[in-house]
């Protein structure tokens, strides 16, 4: 709008109907074939890829969980030796946290946020492509190492000195630390894209108080990522330095400090939990509207609760260290802050309950998963309040009670909403509905199997069973409950199996979905299912929080964008007033090449510090290629 129109411009006002979509398709399309797949910067393709990959890691991590359950089903079982078991529980934790839970939330956001804010692509689309490749490389590194019996065995938290040079020989701990670097880079990239997309690319008229709650949740989450990741980056880099070049950051014999690791790790590690939970809470707030048939109650409260959780998340890391012997008064502060997080969580729960109470619930699978989320997440939240109490924690810390607690929070609090979200947004992603029958089957199997598997672990923990043990002796009274948990995990596994069957079957043969099958109110449902490469033929203009409910006939649109180059509208931060037309980058192979160069450098640096020097040369070349002006219309901007 600030750009002077050149004679050669083709604007969307000049052409209409099918001509317009043809022109936009030509400009925004991803070419077919392998070249298109490697060069695409379409957030929908990358988002789908991201989601798919994250679910592959979920399956792999789930297989490890099943192996652990088989091993623990009897005392002194020898199915897995200690070395293999320790790799497996480390892999399970690291995989689920770094390769599944965080990326899958980002993945859903990469797909949805640009659609929900009504723009044509995510901000920094090439960075987005790069972030996916880096994530894939990090995941591959971890799993290939595991397949070669080089999987990390120091726990997903990798406490020093156990992970230090003296007690973790070989390269296992380095693989863990470097996998962290990969996932950090990819998470930070997505976080930055997300912040800019939400701040600057919202549809005209989408003022701050008209942003869907899920988008708010991703915004807060992205800030959490930006602020928490540097701590783990410092930690894992210091660890690699200790191991590779003999620094002594964590060596008490040389003036280093063992607890420094724990502070750095948990300063990241606790916000990490909210990096996983907040998007899920946002999904619940967004999904509950079409299924309660009314707007979510307490929009302001819900958004403020997200922000409050995000702030408090940085003030309670010490509750992971309550038995490390820190000063008691300091611990009391962290008890208070850890308990306080129950308030924003409570606000959200109560607002959702009020929404359901005043609404007219439609009992489809997504709502079932939301109900399952209430049942289990509230238990996880309450056990969270329990472990926030220092004296309580001294008995249950590092026991199966905590294993039960965080599975209730992470599976109940994040995976259940995520499964609901997959059922809910599946028609938008694929153009087909998921089967309701299979959906209900998977829900009942998963919720029954989950609770039967994990609830007994509370009792096991109180009965003295510590975490991370590869076996236990027959004279301890833990056998019966472990067998029960192991058998129940079959039900849980069956539930996930049904879910995956449902996904695969529906992707091929599900009922064809309309543009807005749930009669939802947010912008992603204003375009076709699945959306075209340019998302919206005309950028929608928003004048309420529920644009599709309040303007049922036709959404107002903004016009004047060029169709012969990739262009989107940049709007102001608070009021989302149009400020400029901005070019959006074209497809490019350079993000992939940069990711390959970066991966080589990072993996090589596990073995020699010189890799950082020589390995950065190809990265520099790739970056030059990435940013080199190609003379495309987009370069004019």
């Amino acid at each position: 709008m600030n750009m002077p129109a050149k004679a050669s411009d083709t604007r969307d006002i000049d052409i209409q109907g099918s001509c317009l979509t043809e022109a936009l398709t030509e400009t925004w399309k991803t070419p077919p074939g392998i070249w298109g797949a490697l060069t695409t910067v379409d957030h929908k393709i990358i988002g789908r890829r991201y989601i798919f990959t994250a679910f592959v890691f979920l399956v792999l991590g789930g297989v490890l969980a099943v192996l652990m359950r088989i091993q623990l089903a009897q005392p002194e079982a020898r199915l897995l030796g200690p070395d293999r078991y320790n790799q497996i529980f480390t892999m399970h934790g690291a995989n689920m946290m770094f390769l599944f839970a965080v990326p899958v939330m980002e993945a859903v956001a990469v797909y949805l946020v640009p659609l929900m804010v009504g723009t044509r692509n995510i901000a920094f689309p090439r960075l987005n492509a790069f972030s996916y490749w880096i994530y894939l490389a990090g995941g591959a590194l971890l799993w290939i190492a595991f397949a070669l019996d080089m999987g990390p065995d120091v726990g997903w938290f990798a406490y020093v000195p156990l992970s230090g040079p003296q007690y973790a020989a070989g390269k296992r701990a380095d693989i863990w630390a470097q996998m962290i670097t990969f996932t950090e880079v990819s998470a930070l990239a997505v976080a930055v894209e997300m912040v800019v997309t939400v701040f600057k690319q919202r549809a005209p008229g989408m003022t701050l108080d008209r942003i869907p709650v899920f988008v708010w949740a991703m915004l807060v989450t992205s800030f959490l990522i930006i602020m928490a990741m540097p701590a783990i980056m410092v930690a894992s880099t210091s660890l690699i330095l200790d191991r590779l070049v003999g620094t002594h950051f964590f060596n008490p014999a040389e003036g280093g400090d063992v607890l420094l690791w724990q502070h750095l790790f948990w300063f990241f590690g606790h916000p990490e939990v909210y990096i996983i939970f907040l998007p899920a809470a946002g999904m619940v707030s967004t999904m509950i509207e079409p299924f309660a048939r009314r707007p979510a109650f307490g929009y302001l409260g819900l958004v403020m609760a997200l922000i409050a959780t995000g702030i408090l998340a940085f003030g309670l890391w010490v509750h992971h260290m309550f038995v490390a012997g820190l000063p008691r008064l300091g611990e009391s502060f962290f008890t208070a802050s850890s308990m306080a997080i129950a308030i924003p969580a409570g606000i959200q729960i109560f607002c959702w309950l009020a929404t359901l109470w005043d609404g007219r619930p439609v009992f489809k699978t997504p709502l079932l998963f939301i109900i399952g989320f209430f049942v289990t997440f509230v238990i996880g939240g309450l056990t969270g309040v329990m472990v926030a109490s220092v004296p309580f924690d001294t008995q249950v810390h590092d026991t199966y009670f905590v294993v039960a607690h965080f599975h209730y929070v992470l599976v109940g609090g994040a995976v259940f909403p995520l499964l609901g979200a997959i059922h809910y947004w599946f028609p938008k992603l694929t153009g087909r509905m998921m089967s309701e029958t299979l959906g209900q089957w998977s829900f009942w199997l998963i919720i029954t199997g989950f609770n039967a598997t994990f609830f007994p672990m509370h009792i096991l923990g109180l009965e003295g069973m510590p975490r991370r043990i590869y076996t236990y002796q027959p004279d301890l009274p833990w056998h019966a409950l472990n067998v029960f948990a192991s058998l129940s995990s079959i039900v849980l596994t069956a539930g996930f199996l049904v879910f995956f069957i449902n996904v695969i079957r529906s992707a091929w043969a599900g009922d064809v979905a309309s543009d807005n099958p749930w009669d939802a109110a947010t912008l992603e449902w204003a375009t076709s299912s699945p959306p075209p490469s340019f998302n919206f033929a005309m950028i929608p203009v928003v004048n309420s929080l529920h644009p599709l409910w309040d303007c049922r006939d036709a959404l107002a649109v903004a016009k004047g964008l060029r169709t012969d180059r990739r262009e989107l509208v940049v709007t102001s931060l608070n009021t989302a007033e149009p400020q400029a037309r901005e070019a959006s980058p074209r497809n490019s192979i350079w993000p992939l090449l940069t990711a390959i160069a970066t991966s080589i450098m990072l993996i090589w640096s596990i073995f020699t510090p010189w890799a950082v020097v020589w390995g950065s040369i190809p990265i520099a070349i790739a970056l030059i290629g990435w940013f080199w002006p190609k003379g495309t219309p987009e370069d004019e901007a």
């Binding site: 005043d358 926030a388 003295g464 027959p474």
Partner: protein
Amino acid sequence: MIRALSKICLSAMLAVPLAACGSNWQSALDVHGTSAISLKHLILLIVAVCSVVWMLVMVALIWALWHRREGLSTPPQPGRERRMTIAVIGAVIVTAVIIGTFTIMSFFATRSLSVAGQDELTIRVRGLQWWWGIEYLGPDPSRRFETANEIHIPVGRSVHLKLEGLDVIHSFWVPSLAGKQDLIPGRSNELTIRAEQPGVYRGQCAEYCGMQHAHMALLVIAESQDDFDKWANAERNAAAQPVEEEAAAGMQTFLTKPCAACHTIRGTIAAGTTGPDLTHVGSRRTIAAGLFETTRGSLAAWIADPQTIKPGNNMPMVPLAPEELRDVSAYLASLK
């Protein structure tokens, strides 16, 4: 097939049952220590309150989903919105009150737990991969002594534990007596335990410490002051000279083979400090950090092949002829 075979081998190995003691000897719910008792009260109270909260939320959820609705869907109405606002604010206030109460309770519970008794019995507990070094301290250096994996304490007396991690982080946890506390290299932590009743309480390392984290147990034996003094005096003595021929031969083997490089047997030239002090190993209830009951058979099995029994532990397999193995196990079993 392999699994079945290994299971048979294993059950043969574990034929020596450890289950002499009550099965709940490592439980935060079956408590016999002063602080564990008050922790149990706190745990039960908090769990009870939280259970009620959960049930209330579930009732609210069920009500919200299935209460009777009239007419067709209507847009949100100001009157109902106001009532809902009041209900939500009320629920948030209740939440705040509950967690505020929990916070204050925790604060006072922590304070009361950390008040140490005025008693001179101090024990240094060192955590190592994967066993516990136990050293009884006292004002008189000549009355100090060392043992491993087994702590004896007098009933009704506060015992002060100085916790030190020597290699990696471990965590001392005897749930029937007290909450846990980490043993961290480069730092010194403390814990006070007091048994209210005589008994044998099992503890286990609670911080992941590597390959054999699962097999790093210890026993706390609470007994009367008399029994404790008797035991302590016996422990202070050097090892008894073997009387039987077999044991005497075993001692020779022990001292000439690499065993003595890692283990101490007071009264002999064996003065290694890498492994547990074996001066009175025959009197301890278990070997290999709680893995087996101490018998001549289990000692022989352990020495013959420590890496199969407890893979990854720091005791190497020392090749011994069958008769040497018999002798050494007889000698160690005789070290009462």
